[in-house]
Structures are given as C-alpha cells and as structure tokens.
Symmetry: C2
Subunit: 338 residues, 2 copies
DNA sequence: GGCCATCGTCGAAGCGTTTCGACAGATACC
DNA sequence: GGTATCTGTCGAAACGCTTCGACGATGGCC
C-alpha cells in the first residue's frame, strides 16, 4: 500500500502538498495538482482511514443503531437502513451498524473510541435509557422517532398525529361518520415506541373535531387477533362504514376476515391503511394508504447529522407531513348509510 | 478524552505497560495490572480506534455487503445481517455496512483505505464481477452464496441441492410420485443467484434417482403468477399429489389458489416449502418446511472470517446440511392415488 | 519603488497507539 | 556460583496522515 509519502516523492512535492490537493484546504497550482493526481492514480493511493482519523479527529463514519430482532417491521427497518447508507455515501461517509440490544454500552463504545462522528438511532422508546447516555457523548446524534424528553437531540419522524388526522379527514370527506381504528398490537404500546400513541392521540383529537363516532382497538397479531379486535369494534360501534388500520401485519387477515364475513371493500367498508406502499399495493384490493416514508426519514436523518457536524443549525424536531395515496379501498358512503 | 499516557501517568507506569495490560501480549504483574485497570476505569479510558488501527494495522471491523434494494427476501437479508453483527461482536469486531450497488468500487474503497480487516458479501451472482476484485485485496473475504469460480475465496451457504433432495425424499417417503416444483421468479434465475440453479439441479437429480414424475416451473410474483404457474404445472402433470415450493412470496397466493379451487392441503396436495420458519408457521396451515438457516450461515461466515484473520485453515466451501421440519402440510398419500 | 497581501509550497510537530529491543532482577540449572 | 532463562517494565521508534507556521515569489496599490 503506497503512503502519502510515496505519492509526494513520485510527484516531486512534499507530503503536505499532497494532503492539500486531497482536501482542498489550501490553494494549489493547477500544474502541481495535476502532477499529484497523476501520481495518486498511478500508485493507486488511498489514504489510510485510521491515520486520517487520528490526525484529523474525523472518521467519516456514522453509527446506525438498528433493532435487529426479527420483528414485524423488518421491511421498514430495512428501508431506513438503505436510506441512511445511501445518503451517508452521498456525503462521503460510511455506516457502522450497531444493534439496539447492545444498548448504552454499544453507543459509548463506538463514541468513546472515536469510531464514528455521529450516531443515528431508530426504534426509540418513550423514556429511552439511551438518551441520557447520548447527551454525554461528544458526538451528535439524530433520532428516528420521538421519545418524550429529547431536548437538545435532533429527532426526525413521520408526523403520526397528522397521519391519523389525514386518514379521518379523508374518510369524513367521503361521508363516513362511524369509523373504527385497528391499532398496533398491545406489544407495541407496551414497548412504548411513541408512534402508536401519537397516532392514537391524533386520531382521537381529529375524531372529536370532526364530530365522528369512532372506536379504537389494539390488535394482536394473527387471524385470531384480528377477529377479536373486529368483534370488539363492531360491538361498540354498530354499522361502522370505515376502518383506519395502523397495523401492517393485521391487514391481510383483516381483509380475509371481511371477505369471509361478506363485507365488501370498499362497498361495505372503506379502509385507509398506514403502511409502506408496496404492502398497500400487494393486497387483493389496492389500499388507499398513508405511506411510512422511510426513505425520506432516513435521508433527512443523515442530512441532519451532517448539518450538526458542520456546526450548522438544525430543527430539533422534524416531523414529516404525511401523504395519502388514493387507491381502491375507499368509496363515497352510500346514501343509505348516511 | 483521556489517552493512554494519562492512564500511564495515573497508574505510575509507562504507556507501553498500559498497552500490554490491555492486549495481554506480555506478562504484567497482578499488582501493576490492577493499578492500571483502576486508572482505566477511573478515567474512563477507551483506546482511540484510529490510532490503534494505525499502529497495529488491525481495525477490528468487518465489512458486510448487503443487497439493499427492497427485495423479496428482505427478512432473510435482515436475518443474515443480524447474525453477522451479533457474531462479530462476540469476536470484538464491529460491522461496516456497505450496499451492493456500490459494486467493486465500494469494496476497494474500504479495503484500500484500511477501514476493515475482512469482508463478508451476500447475494453473489454466478459470475460476480466483484470476485476478481476481492482476489486483489489484501483483506480476506467470505461469501454467503456460491458463485461459479470462487477458488481461493471462502463460501458459506445452505446446501440447496441437498435441500431439494430432502424435500423429494420426504414426499416420496410419504408415497408421492407425481410432484411439481414451484420455483423462484424468472427474475431470480436471470439475476443468476446460484441458489435457484443449485436447488433445481438437486431437484432434477433426486427426481431421477427416486424415479418420480416431476415438473418444474418458475413463478412470477403475485396471484396471477401463481395461477399461471399452477396452470402450466397441472397441464404437464395431471393428478399431481404434492408440490415443492421454493418461492417464499408465492406461498400465500398459492394456498389461496388451492383453497379457491377446492384442493385441500394436505389431503389433496401435500406441500414442502423452502422458507424461513416464521413464514412456514404464519400460513393458515402450518407448512412442512426446510428452513433457510440465515442465522447459522451468518454466524459461520463470521467465524470463517475470524479463522482467516488468525491465519488458521478454513474449508473453502461450506454448505450447511438442510433440515426439514414437519408441520401440517404433508400427508401419506391416499391409496386411491397410488 | 516600496509595502502589503496573496499564492503556493514546505517542514515539522503532532494525533494515540503498538511493538521491538533493552535491561534489571529473579529463578532455574548443572 | 556462574550462566542461561524468565519476568516485568521501560523507552523509543514507528504507523500515515493533517495542520500550523513560515517563507519565497508574485502582483496590486499608492
């Protein structure tokens, strides 16, 4: 492996000049630059990352902390990761993948040993124990999610409250007034990932404002969970005409159940789902849905990290506006039901 | 951030002694060791990764190259990644996540700049262009998959040929003689990820040896793809009594189709699926299946990398034996069909 | 024409480790 | 009791880069 000294010798300049050609931090004559670049190319020189990190105290590496348990939302997690890696590369950074289960120790390890310049975490819980640890690090961090006390730490997420409101507004706009919410599984609420609560809060608020009759219910995974949830919802709200489904896993069994019980979508029941686009389109009937914009969120997280590293200002809470895509699961309510 | 010098001063020893306490490469008296460790703990010292890499030419980082396109097999990819990260941590290594779409350039970048000690790649194609590049690197690499010419590069994967044979043997053991294979989508064959071919080859070989009547057919995604595939298979092989399904995505629509056409599983059609366990169990009828042992493969890949780094010997082609788990989708063939 | 900036380059001092050779003292061996 | 071998520790030299201060050469300005 050639070093910067080899390049310098080959180009007939000093090592510092090579460094300045590489970094652009000082003016270098076009001629010298050309010679240096030729030498770099010829020798196949790549600066040694460790040496660089040592000298400059910059690693050009971001930590990404992902929940690697095999979970319901694997595809979404993967989309976040994809977006983060891709965006990081656009800023000439690499990504070190950590698992959430290493907890605080993992964060401190990579931060204290100066392996990374910044951290991006996903799957934050309401009172996430990692947050106080993050505050103590010298590296900045960006959260994908919105834990309760995140003062001084940048957060990026979909605006789930607005998403709930948007779903209800859409349904109300089609004349629906009796609407059920099929929520995430109780495990999600228990885990205290706040998106479930934020969605629920937005749902209830919009429901009140729009003067709707609504019922909300969590939903255990599997066909049985869906059956139970729907039974409860139907019992509490007879003649409902629409459902909002904030539970990706429940979608398929829910559609099966409705089909089996002779309730047609959208003729008898309209549905708005909160789920990734590909899930919405892969169902027997294309679902009108609000996307989880994992790509945008991940990209934004990286951009935020970069701003922090540059010492620029950032918005500490950035909630992305939801977008609803109409497909075939919502219809104007039939006059008989008004 | 305290340095090794701070620790040395606090403990009243030289920096090299601290280093030897940390690495264990030279004997240190129990008393000195204790003092040094106390100083480390008190100061909260963490060695600087870059400095370490520079001095020792070891980074304790593995590159993991993952296909981050949002693909059919996202959950499996994720399981590989989980396993790799977890296993790496057990060897005190971290994982740098690269995307396949950076191609050869990405590998060379991280290797030449000494960011990683070894590379693990997944989703290898038959004549993968990255392989010649890997050979030129000074870092060893381990492949998850089995491209055609991999001499000198360690490979780890499930033995897909044996898996196909196992599936047929299981069915034949239950009296089935007319068996269809629902294969991966043509896109998979086109992409030349060799597992599809290896499975197919094993299937055909075992089919001949067991003297079975079989038909194989790729299967496009979606309900329509499954319908077409089954139509073709049925046309070529009337009265089939069993199916082998090597297409995770097709499973659900296939079961729907069989249900809709009044063919009961397993009474009319037995099924053996090649898919992750959770997929097999999440179907309406629990599927007898051969697992993709992503966790084992990922762990083994890391272990292999570690052996290579230690200069120990490795088996350059390691194909894991498949295991079949019986559930409720296979039954002894009814006498009338014999 | 003298003075100041600016440009382009160099040399040297770090950055924080690891590792090698050296060495003093203790221990073993015959 | 002298030599050889360990033990335990130290000092210093890398490792390969960035960055700061310095400095000669240009060029602009009044």
């Amino acid at each position: 492996m050639p070093t910067i000294n080899d390049v310098a010798r080959a180009a007939g300049v000093s090592p510092s000049t090579v460094s300045y050609v590489l970094s652009g931090r000082r003016p270098i004559s076009a001629e010298t630059r050309a010679r240096v670049q030729a030498a770099i190319a010829e020798l196949g020189f790549h600066p040694h990352a460790g040496a660089r990190a040592l000298a400059s105290s910059k690693t050009n590496v971001l930590a990404l902390v992902a929940p690697l348990r095999v979970d319901v939302n694997v595809p979404v997690i993967m989309q976040f990761a994809t977006a983060v890696v891709t965006a990081a590369r656009a800023y000439n950074h690499d990504v070190l993948l950590l698992t959430k289960d290493e907890g605080t120790a993992g964060l401190e390890r990579v931060a204290h040993s100066t392996m990374v310049d910044a951290l991006i975490l996903m799957d934050l819980e309401r009172d996430d124990l990692r947050i106080p640890a993050l505050r103590r690090l010298k590296q900045p961090s960006v959260l994908i999610g919105l834990p309760s006390d995140h003062t001084g730490i940048a957060c990026v997420d979909l605006d789930f409250a607005a998403a709930a409101r948007l779903a209800l507004e859409h349904l109300a706009g089609h004349g629906h007034r009796r609407i059920g919410l099929v929520g995430p599984s109780p495990a999600v609420y228990r885990r205290q990932t706040t998106y479930a609560d934020r969605f629920l809060a937005g749902f209830l608020e919009a429901s009140a404002e729009l003067d709707l009759r609504t019922v909300t219910h969590p939903c255990e995974p599997g066909a049985a969970g869906v059956r139970d949830a729907m039974a409860d919802i139907d019992a509490q709200l007879s003649d409902l005409t629409a459902l909002v489904v904030h539970n990706e896993e429940a979608l398929r069994p829910l559609l099966d159940l409705l089909h089996a019980t002779g309730r047609k979508v959208p003729d008898d029941v309209s549905i708005v789902a909160i789920c990734p686009q590909d899930v919405a389109t892969s169902m027997p009937v294309g679902l009108t849905s609000i996307d989880i914009p994992a790509h945008d969120v991940g990209t934004l997280a990286v951009e935020t990290a970069m701003r922090l590293l540059d010492g620029r200002t950032v918005e500490y809470t950035r909630l992305l506006a939801p977008a609803l895509v109409e497909r075939n699961s919502c219809t104007e309510i039939s006059p008989s039901h008004r």
